[in-house]
Subunit: 666 residues, 3 copies
Amino acid sequence: MSNEHLLNSRLPRLWHGGDYNPEQWPSQVWDDDVRLMQTARCNVATIGIFSWSKLEPSEGRFDFAWMDDVIDRLSRGDRWFILATPSAAPPAWLSRRYPETLRTGADGVRRRHGNRVNYNLASKVYREKTREIARRLSERYGAHPRLLAWHMSNEYGGADYGEESASAFRLWLQRKFGTLDALNAAYWTTFWSHTYTDWEEIHPPGAPHGEESIQGLTVDWQRFVTDQTIDFMLNEAAPLRELSPEVPITTNMMGTYPGLDYRKFASHIDFTSWDSYPAFQGGLEETKIWVAAAFKHDLTRSIKPKMPWLLMESTPSSGNWYPYMALKRPGMHRLEAVQAVAHGADGVQYFQWRQSRGSQEQLHGAVVGHAGDEGTRVFQEVKAVGEELESLAHLVGTQVDAEVAIVYDWEVRWAIDAASGPVRESKKYEETCIEHYRAFWQAGVPVDVIGLDDPLDRYKVVVAPMAYSLRPGFAERVKAFVEAGGTFVTTYLTGWVDENSLVYEGGFLSPLRELLGIWSEELDVLYPGHSKASEFVDDNDLGLAGQFTASDFCELIHLTTAKAAATYAEDFYEGRPSVTVNRVGDGLAYYVASRTEPTFNDAFLTAIAQKAGVETFLLPTGVTVQRRVGGGREFHFFLNATPNSVSFSTERSGKVELPPWGAEVR
Amino acid sequence: MSNEHLLNSRLPRLWHGGDYNPEQWPSQVWDDDVRLMQTARCNVATIGIFSWSKLEPSEGRFDFAWMDDVIDRLSRGDRWFILATPSAAPPAWLSRRYPETLRTGADGVRRRHGNRVNYNLASKVYREKTREIARRLSERYGAHPRLLAWHMSNEYGGADYGEESASAFRLWLQRKFGTLDALNAAYWTTFWSHTYTDWEEIHPPGAPHGEESIQGLTVDWQRFVTDQTIDFMLNEAAPLRELSPEVPITTNMMGTYPGLDYRKFASHIDFTSWDSYPAFQGGLEETKIWVAAAFKHDLTRSIKPKMPWLLMESTPSSGNWYPYMALKRPGMHRLEAVQAVAHGADGVQYFQWRQSRGSQEQLHGAVVGHAGDEGTRVFQEVKAVGEELESLAHLVGTQVDAEVAIVYDWEVRWAIDAASGPVRESKKYEETCIEHYRAFWQAGVPVDVIGLDDPLDRYKVVVAPMAYSLRPGFAERVKAFVEAGGTFVTTYLTGWVDENSLVYEGGFLSPLRELLGIWSEELDVLYPGHSKASEFVDDNDLGLAGQFTASDFCELIHLTTAKAAATYAEDFYEGRPSVTVNRVGDGLAYYVASRTEPTFNDAFLTAIAQKAGVETFLLPTGVTVQRRVGGGREFHFFLNATPNSVSFSTERSGKVELPPWGAEVR
Amino acid sequence: MSNEHLLNSRLPRLWHGGDYNPEQWPSQVWDDDVRLMQTARCNVATIGIFSWSKLEPSEGRFDFAWMDDVIDRLSRGDRWFILATPSAAPPAWLSRRYPETLRTGADGVRRRHGNRVNYNLASKVYREKTREIARRLSERYGAHPRLLAWHMSNEYGGADYGEESASAFRLWLQRKFGTLDALNAAYWTTFWSHTYTDWEEIHPPGAPHGEESIQGLTVDWQRFVTDQTIDFMLNEAAPLRELSPEVPITTNMMGTYPGLDYRKFASHIDFTSWDSYPAFQGGLEETKIWVAAAFKHDLTRSIKPKMPWLLMESTPSSGNWYPYMALKRPGMHRLEAVQAVAHGADGVQYFQWRQSRGSQEQLHGAVVGHAGDEGTRVFQEVKAVGEELESLAHLVGTQVDAEVAIVYDWEVRWAIDAASGPVRESKKYEETCIEHYRAFWQAGVPVDVIGLDDPLDRYKVVVAPMAYSLRPGFAERVKAFVEAGGTFVTTYLTGWVDENSLVYEGGFLSPLRELLGIWSEELDVLYPGHSKASEFVDDNDLGLAGQFTASDFCELIHLTTAKAAATYAEDFYEGRPSVTVNRVGDGLAYYVASRTEPTFNDAFLTAIAQKAGVETFLLPTGVTVQRRVGGGREFHFFLNATPNSVSFSTERSGKVELPPWGAEVR
């Protein structure tokens, strides 16, 4: 088995474990921890995430003895470990001696020491210190045979607005634009007399007392923050790469977290991982929570195609920051673990191993809780998952192979969120992408979640909802994809602005007008509670019939070469097209002009998939089947994301019966 | 035709046009703009509003060539122009070089460059710079024969809380009070040991870390901000007045905007104008939005009696800052334009002519939109309005002649908003004034919206709802008005405090007690959802009968010389008067003690009007008729502010049929 | 009659009066005030609360002449007075000359002069100044025969976050912990690498830009603020104690105000007093508002056992800071006064005597209002209360004698509010304590409201709802209480953490496990709208039967020695115990595992009381009876907290008939 499609060939099984913070406890607890890990079939422990003050108790004085001890005990107990760089939480002495290492908020106020991820991304001193501690860790543990991966910091996020970062931003802009004239043109600064005449006049946007009205600046700032964060990561990764080049690197992402374009991390890490915390409500109908988790799993996986990923954190019971700490019902924990594997994870980990007696996350769920050791329901469920993951070891090396892709692009999200209009509150970009994803999930269709720049030719169907801002080349690649036989689906609010948030010359949809065979005149925004009916036209190419309704957005378009598949059925735009299809080369390009209801999406996207030759399944509502393939075999994961028992048949699997929150792998 | 009652005799037609920002575009677009203006019957363009960085690209270096070119093209195309001073948005170089020109927030934080209207009203440097650029514009264009008006800055608003403004405020207070003793007495500072012993101890109120508890100080600060803003305007207007005394001056107001007492601008400008942006919802019952717009039109008009006014900005489609950018349904745009003329406007203008590709307002509606030139629905509707306005040219010189006035006074609003109690959230002063206005609007009665200091003798009926604070002389003038035969109506929460927010010695209503023939003991405030019934007494002088209900406020009063027209019908104040009337001289003074429902207001105010000899109409709900008179003629505007077709007759006009959102001028 | 159980033997009657601020008015009003006080049977006036700027108009220049005059007039009119130290509102000259005396907010911004209670608790200068003015007052008036009490400042509250306070906090922590190691251990700072290495690294928590994640630090800060406030009070009390040791000291508390642990004030004051402002809604069913007031009365009383207390402030009509200033219906004012006496008050006072013409509280209710002198409804109701209080003079010296105690502990509240989880918003600690109190109130059972450290042996039943954090010794004292025959009741979320917010080793409930005979495994938190049914087991020891439902919290426990009295009836924990009882020695210990509905609490707590030999009454809903005893007599207060007339009988009192909001003392 080659290392190519594995997290790390040192442990070619499904990983199971979690964040382990033994430094909070006296060492007499540690042996008990190893014994309990063995009991629970937890083969991996992630250590060192918040250990800086223990590793370097005062400046330049390092203490690795305790970590040596912990690693020895883990090794003797046949456990493996992931080792984190500790940059997410600096020691107090560092903040005191070097206050410039602390982060500055958008309001210009420098943070005090405390909480976490409160460091200045631009600080030279902080970068020296984080690189040095990473070098020490690499020197001491980089060659350890049981080290599975480097865990870069923890949940990179947020932004720094201090003067060092502002300067770095200006340099970033100079590199991007070359001249102020180019920047002024791209930002349309003539409006409101905003023309910049000196680079120093530019400040990070978003300050309550500063510039908020230049969308291009806002989006560029978010691009810069991603680049700056990667640069920060590469600085602390450098000694790791240098001294332990064979140890893979990852960092724990946060799904659709809007602050960072995770796709830009792809080339700098060896596998992806993320922290999944769906907030279950304790037994109610909550399928959509499972669908959103699935979407983020597929998003995380698609960032590194052909690679497995790692569920780096999840909770075995509940999370202390949920609005309500509802318990997971029996079975839900197993379903969550199997779901991750179904979507390509080669490991399931928890935050945290042993519940902390004090501080912020003392009430956060853990494998070993306050109430007892192995005697608890939670521990027993974790153990059962551990046993099941052991039994699924043959899945290692298999992959998810999707024929459908949905575009969820961070720059689109930034642009649409930065837009002043067409609604003042959330435009629901993420929710809309997930709603389109849901239709495929319900039909048992594996999906990749990709960005605007990703290759399209590996798919039969590409769906790009609300692709508000486009980047150069996308329209051309979509055209080639469709001409070669692909099916492309897009919606209202697509192609309004370019990568600098300038409305396209020629108007909305300009780069895609020819492909879609339409032009767009205006957008009607509906107040909450309002809706507009549409109906399918007779003999439309999808064979669909009847009415459906739209809410929120109704774009008013005109056909050029496309045909209407549905038309509005009321108001002054009655009879005008609401769904269109355009044949281009060997493929089809669809446009959905309004925000449609789930029943439309189910029917429409299933028909699209079938027409494109993608296999679909007829499954009970809230149930999906997902697949991993490899070594000539195909594994089906039947997942019941409902509190009801279900029973159904599929052609290939025959009859399937699942209890509430049940899962079965065949 | 004299200039007396015209915006400017140079263009004695109804004006049509809008904000035009050609500097955002290459000059090849400009000829197209002029052609399209001709097509759309747009005869006026407002230029220069945000052009400072183009006019003065660096300090002291001026560039008027592009503006010369624009004006030449407009002139050659037989268009006219309004020219703005550019002070609303300073160039970036100015903010960088003179940071003291930037505004300081209530929190004491100086703003960074960005957005707009972010300048320090007190800054000596800023005043020099704005005066200099105004002088240059005046020198170059003041004598241009196609210049129709000076547009002072843009939407003056907000306040500066910096040290320069604080000092100016202290001087303002010294001028007002003379001594600290007088100020202390007026502010009742003995309470909470607030006695000032040095002028320097006084800071602008409203800071999150400062004084909030002296109502008189709060109201005086708002008076000061108005005076300071006018002073700022006069500084930049001075070279215009000096060099082009024949060109009228206006500034675009914002209706009932609470930050400035627009009436104090009256003597410094030649005609009023305002930016009207009713947020239509796309077809639902929304008559009240039209009524509110009408109220603000009449408010704007009444500020300069006998003069027409200009709708300086409106949107031909939607505004990007609305909560939801609903499209105006076909017909609504025309109704909005005709409505403005019906209420005395001699012109209808838009923001903006050509939609900007980028920056804050790129999605704001425009005449020439992203989607195309004249090929759009919006352009065609604008063109139709242009044609209609041309056909109504004979209205120029006519006026609105109102026999009823409603008092909406900024100082009352400030005082009632500053009051700590009787409810914690909005007291709904503006909404209440508009609700009283609505009853007259529904009855087809033209109304002036006046202030406490305006003359009353021109009216038959004066209604002053919730006139919480009074100014010296008002009570005397009302008394004279009633004695001479006028009808005065006022309500709960009237006459509680004097102009310094001191409760009147002798209690609520003191200055009006004799006139109203009642005294007021206490106010019951109802929780949301609660109501209290009243019923008319038999044989009341208005001939009304039956019950009505009140919400929010029930004032408990005692009769002295007045008679009860209605009494409360429940709770411990059952039987006590809720509506009273007092005959004084030849007139009548009414008091409505509780916040009544619309059906009461319709019946009560219509009866009041009829009794006072004011003509009323019986019209379908949501339909009004408004009038302009002049040259011996009378023009009736029938306006249907509903989504339904209506048909009705009036004695003078015969049968009228109007489609949804229909308007007709006879 | 000894002084022991009296507010002050100088006036051995029920006190009646209020805050009197004559310095706002010309002296001609003062004689009228005294006359009206006589009319209204107001025998006490509280003066000087906000008089600093009148007493010391400029630094070091004192003026007592006006106060001499006021006191003379009161004395001549046979009135008594309470004298306040004026520290709540410093004069403007002091803030200007010594800006360091102004308070600094959590955000690090120093307040400007204005409002009140805006002083720096740590300021040396401010302490000098407040002590000096207190000394002057004491010298001049301390020996006055009509001085009844010293009123320390006004509504101590809030916190200062400036550098002086931060330093004082660090010293406080050093005294508490001795070493940083001890502090680090108690705060579990290893988590998130928070280990402190220097005392200077510690800042007050709660800053928006600072530490928020260490619960122990948060709770210690609140302990410190209490200690610092007491220290501030003692500083200004020192000259009073020295020069007028026979004059009792009090300070007006604010019920359950979360910012200060009022029990720590007990040993420093001579009697308690508080400002009660229930926000009545004007006639609706609002019994719970009366119950909450009763709870706070009993809390205030229990702080100084065996002593009467004083209702220092209440409003005779409405408060200007209520969301809606509803009038109290006729009778409610009397009920409020009698209710206070029923719960042990020996006086009823108002804020304020004469309504201020201006400033913040000009609309706050007063005895003498804007509308008139004695001619108003409010004045007449106050007068009637005055007459009734005179007729109840025989109650002076009697006491409330409670056999039931409910634990409401400030440190518990702080700990539970600081906890991150198990819900994100309010955990409803106060509401839950009051809900348990309500059941006893409805059953006519007098209750003390005590803290964790108070003696238990005087009670038959002790109820400690949600006692989330415990302090050393509590468990032992409860054990002794139960063994000696007492009945102890506690609930979910009890005993989770120790006094430093560390989860107990051994898990939830550890110190009480043996007593309760259970252990707790996990807590299910229900989303709003969800509920779980329970049912009583057959033959439970309380003789209760049927089902009840829970919301919010369901703790999942295991029996060791206890018996289940009820079990969950649904979900995966069906059949597991939801109410348990454990017999220990001669007593019983109950555990209620879920947040139950009022009908359960009524049945359960009444049964508990009866079983424990506490007398209960069967009363109409919303009606209570409370008792005072003394001199061998027992006085029953029948209180109807509903808008309906009620009629009922009790064994001892026979038939009782009460009008809406009626009260009767027998």
